[in-house]
């Protein structure tokens, strides 16, 4: 799973029926220092996240499908949680 920030929303009128009724979010994966980690990706929304939220993104099909509640659908990324706080244990990391 990745830590990411929601940076936008897509509007797609014509899409796979299993994506109907779900928000399609543009999320930017982040490093622990808050900098961008690679390119932004597209993820379906399973927690009603909005632009600016720091979220947890799963990047694997099965977990994404079950989180959105649509098995057997072409989903490989989903926003599955909000991140309130990340704490690094001193001396370990």
């Amino acid at each position: 799973m990745l830590i990411a920030r929601v940076i936008g929303e897509l509007v797609a009128t014509y899409k796979h029926p299993s994506h109907e009724g779900c928000k399609i979010l543009l999320v930017q994966p982040l490093n622990l220092d808050g900098s961008n980690r690679g390119d932004a990706v597209v993820a379906l929304d399973a927690v009603d996240a909005g632009v600016g939220d720091q979220v947890l993104v799963t990047t694997e099909g099965f977990s994404a499908m079950t989180a959105v509640g649509r098995t057997q659908s072409p989903i490989d990324m989903a926003v599955i949680g909000f991140i309130d706080h990340v704490e690094l244990v001193p001396g370990v990391s």
Partner: protein, 103 residues
């Protein structure tokens, strides 16, 4: 899933039998600011997208799930046509749409 733009078509007359009947399109991945990023790849197409259209595509095992009950040997599939992207800081960005040329 990732943003992309359709930049071409791929014909393959000889291919695995379970790929028969599926369109193969050449896709340029896009970054959040809609600039090109990374290398182009071949995707099977669920949507009927045309050249120049902005799309989003799914990769991996889920790529063939889009076509159920068909199961093409595909690892990347276009699953939606993007009308617009609304970003936080900017005005809504419109896709760079070229004259639709459907194949």
């Amino acid at each position: 899933m990732q943003l992309g733009r359709v930049v071409g078509c791929v014909w393959a007359t000889v291919k695995n039998a379970n790929l028969e009947g599926y369109r193969l399109l050449l896709v340029q991945p896009l970054a959040a600011d809609l600039r090109d990023t990374g290398k182009r790849l071949v995707c099977t197409d669920w949507t009927g997208a045309g050249a120049g259209e902005m799309i989003y595509w799914v990769r991996g095992r889920e790529a063939s799930i889009a076509f159920l009950p068909g199961q093409p040997a595909s690892d990347a599939t276009i699953v939606g046509i993007v009308d617009s992207v609304h970003r936080a800081a900017n005005k809504p960005a419109k896709p760079a749409r070229q004259p639709a040329e459907r194949h």
